[in-house]
Amino acid sequence: MAGHAPARREFLSNGAALGCCLAASPILTPVTLASAPHDHRLVVIILRGGMDGLDVIRPLGDAAFSTLRPDLRLKETDRGMDLDGFFALHPALAGLMPLWRAGEFAAFHAVSTPYRGKRSHFDGQDVLESGIGLEDRQTRSDGWLNRVLQQLPGAESETAYAIGRSDMLLTRGAAEVADWAPDAALVLSPQAQSLLEMVMHDDPLFRDATIEAIALSGTDLAAQPGRSAPRGGDMMNAMRENMRAARGGARPASIARFAADRLRQDTRIAAFSLNGFDTHSRQDKSLPGSLERLAEAIMTLRNNLGPVWERTTVAAMTEFGRTARLNGSGGTDHGTGGAMLLAGGAVRGGRVLTDWPGLAEADLFQGRDLRPTRDLRAPLGWLLRDLFGFEKRVIETAIFPGADMGPDPGLTR
């Protein structure tokens, strides 16, 4: 459960008498950030289900790869876009090639969390989001991104945003994290809005949350064609539309648009998750859609962040990789080593970073998975040092206890 914002609320209730509420809401008022000692932006995307790193960043240069993935041999034209002569990018991520060419996209390959053995989504995601191995973990651990906030001097309630309807362990903990699901956006007639303001007026808790909810709803509605405040008789249609939107879940683009909108202002850290990476069968059919959504999210961030993109790092990570071999139904099963994807103007990209373990039978982890050669938390730790100036000691004890950061891969510019 994310913490929330009493300080912010006090601020709101001082200034915002309903009626002129939106103009007085600080959300719509530019706030200077002179006090914030760091200006970098970090976006963490959790890819749920276990993304197949070997299919996304394909080691075509490894002789064993074509034996493990015989389907790719058949498709000469569809083998992916060459990255560095050894690795190729999955065709569904073609949208990210301009970033690669601009040196704003990188991958870190053959990494994994410290989770080993049972290959359970739930345990794997718990380890990924808590940043702590199962054996070191208490039942109620907090998320590593929340611990990052706890270490940030001057972090406030809007410094980090958890976006989307799911309650992420990643951002849970003692530090305050704002949350918003674009699919919770309200569609209200002007009359309903003013009547709501009337009944909320004398209750500061409800009044202030209503003001913010209406303001936040406006952020995304404006950008979505076909979703605007209804008038009178359109109300029922609007409600049905609302229901449909909620059922379908927020599209990655609307999540990313919302994130970009916040990151252009006070917010320094945003996190959300994308589902659909558990590709047990017909991976050639099931994976592309999920990858396209990821590319759409990243490109939406880039296109909406404006100059802030230069100071932004997007890190997309998953609970584990998948089996090196294709299974009998054209998919892959839960594995171990995989890839983390990095994008953003702050990233020193155009590179696939890896201590490549090889894919020969003897090189595989337990004879089946890509062998992780580096703890995922090591590059993440260096990233946090680059972005927020944390000391290595703080990262290895307070943020990723038990992790060994090893040598600096120099991830940022």
């Binding site: 309903a192 009337m198 009944v199 909320m200 004398d202 409800f206 229901m243």
Partner: protein
């Protein structure tokens, strides 16, 4: 500050109903609570045995698929799997629909609220296709029969539930010198999760008079608590650490581990004065205020101590104290209470709940609950749902409440009452004037009803 019929239903029950009169007095509330559980007869929710049966069927279907060699046998295995999935979905939707129908139509709202409270106090939840829906069955089996019984019996019951044992890893806990550990050194060792949460959350409280050594000793004592899909709870003596163990200065067991020794320890912890204080404060916070009157807490705790945790008497202590009837409605309804009391005010009956239409159930109940912050499969931590109002009324969560209030009543009911009449029924005899004005001024019935439900006067209890 004294008993008020409408407050009794709003604060301690499931809200006001146009069909069912609120309780006359505290005695009637307690009598109903001690009387037959009519709501569970009319709107049944499966028990743990049904979960186990489905788990066995699911396992059998998986085995069938593994063994299948012919196309025909593969087809049969697929059918078996599909059938299990359908039954799980049926179980999930029935549990959800009947849980809300109980709230909408019960005469004994206090029972529903107490079951939710204790189910939350002893939070357990599962993961995976079947077990994520096991929570209602767990509450029905281990909590509901004990809300007027002894706290110690409830503690024993939850400690023997497969869902709890799995949730807090107790079934994996192996005594370091147990029989099985002597034979197989690779087995995982002691797991302290259940022991720790039992002391910290379920009984003594985080400020209670225990230390790490008590946690460790209790963890050793609890080894052997386990389950399988055939029998449900089992005591696996081969996992049990030989005694004695000393917890809070009392020594239990000698030599071979025994279930009786575990029960003896649980009984002592359940009736400890710190448990009385911890439970009393939680009740007062949950039902009355995030910052309850100390006199109220002390009164409940004293009754708990005097009766060794007789829950009917403890509940009566809560109800009979003047501070419980403070005029100001401070606590915000949790999403389940909010939706439940809205359904009750709207006079929802079984035919209104689209329990055979999974998509509508998703739109109207499941998704809204998640967006309001109370996922129907349970909280994400053993601490249970948060109590603080600020946790629930965030922009996102409130937006989800407002959206539901404006759209779900019409979708469920089609025919909506006059908003002004609805306000009088839903808010009681003295509704705030601006809510009445807003109800009158709304452009449509749906908006008018929505604004009444959205008002703090309805959302607080």
């Amino acid at each position: 500050m004294r008993f008020d019929r409408e407050k009794a239903d709003i604060r301690f029950g499931c809200g006001l109903s146009p069909r069912i009169a609120p309780p006359r007095d505290i005695q009637q509330m307690i009598d109903q609570l001690k009387g037959p559980d009519e709501a569970s007869d009319v709107f049944p929710i499966p028990k743990t045995e049904t979960i186990l049966e489905l788990a066995r069927a699911s396992r059998a279907a998986r085995q069938q698929r593994r063994k299948a060699t012919t196309e025909k046998s593969r087809e049969n295995a697929r059918d078996a799997r599909r059938s299990v999935r359908r039954r799980v979905q049926r179980l999930a939707l029935d549990s959800l629909a009947n849980g809300f129908l109980r709230r909408a139509l019960t005469v004994d709202g206090l029972r529903e609220r107490l079951c939710a409270f204790w189910g939350d106090h002893f939070t357990a939840s599962g993961k995976g296709v079947l077990w994520r829906h096991a929570r209602p069955a767990y509450v029905e089996t281990a909590i509901r029969p004990h809300v007027t019984g002894n706290f110690a019996d409830m503690l024993r019951a939850v400690a023997m539930q497969p869902l709890m044992l799995h949730y807090l890893d107790q079934h994996l806990s192996v005594g370091p010198t147990s029989r099985v550990a002597q034979v197989n050194r690779t087995l995982d060792g002691l797991n302290e999760n259940l022991a720790r949460e039992m002391l910290e959350l379920h009984t003594l409280g985080v400020d209670g008079p225990y230390d790490q050594s008590d946690v460790r000793q209790l963890a050793r004592l609890l080894t052997g608590l386990s389950y399988n899909l055939k029998q449900g709870f089992i005591y696996r003596s081969s996992f049990a650490e030989p005694g004695p163990e000393t917890i809070l200065g009392v020594t239990y067991g000698q030599g071979k581990g025994r279930l009786e020794d575990i029960h003896a320890a649980l009984d002592d912890i359940a009736t400890h004065p710190s448990t009385a204080a911890h439970v009393a404060r939680k009740l007062a916070v949950h039902f009355v205020s995030d910052e309850p009157a100390e006199a109220l807490v002390a009164h409940i705790a004293a009754r708990f101590r005097d009766t060794d945790g007789d829950m009917a008497a403890v509940t009566e202590a809560l109800l009979e104290h003047p501070a419980a009837w403070q005029p100001a409605a401070e606590n915000v309804k949790r999403p389940v209470d909010f939706i439940g009391s809205a359904l009750r005010a709207l006079d929802i009956v079984p035919r209104h709940i689209p329990k055979n239409d999974p998509r509508k159930m998703l739109d109207l109940l499941i998704m809204p609950l998640a967006l309001m912050g109370q996922d129907w499969t349970g909280p994400s931590s053993p601490e249970g749902w948060p109590e603080a109002n600020e946790e629930w009324i965030t922009p996102q969560r409130l937006a989800a409440r407002l959206q539901w209030a404006m759209s779900a009543p019409f979708a469920l009911r089609r025919v909506l009452p006059n908003p002004e009449d609805f306000a009088l029924g839903a808010l009681g005899h003295a509704p705030p004037q601006d809510v009445i004005r807003a109800a009158r001024a709304a452009e449509t019935r749906a908006e008018g009803v929505g604004i009444v439900l959205a008002s703090p006067a309805f959302q607080r209890m």
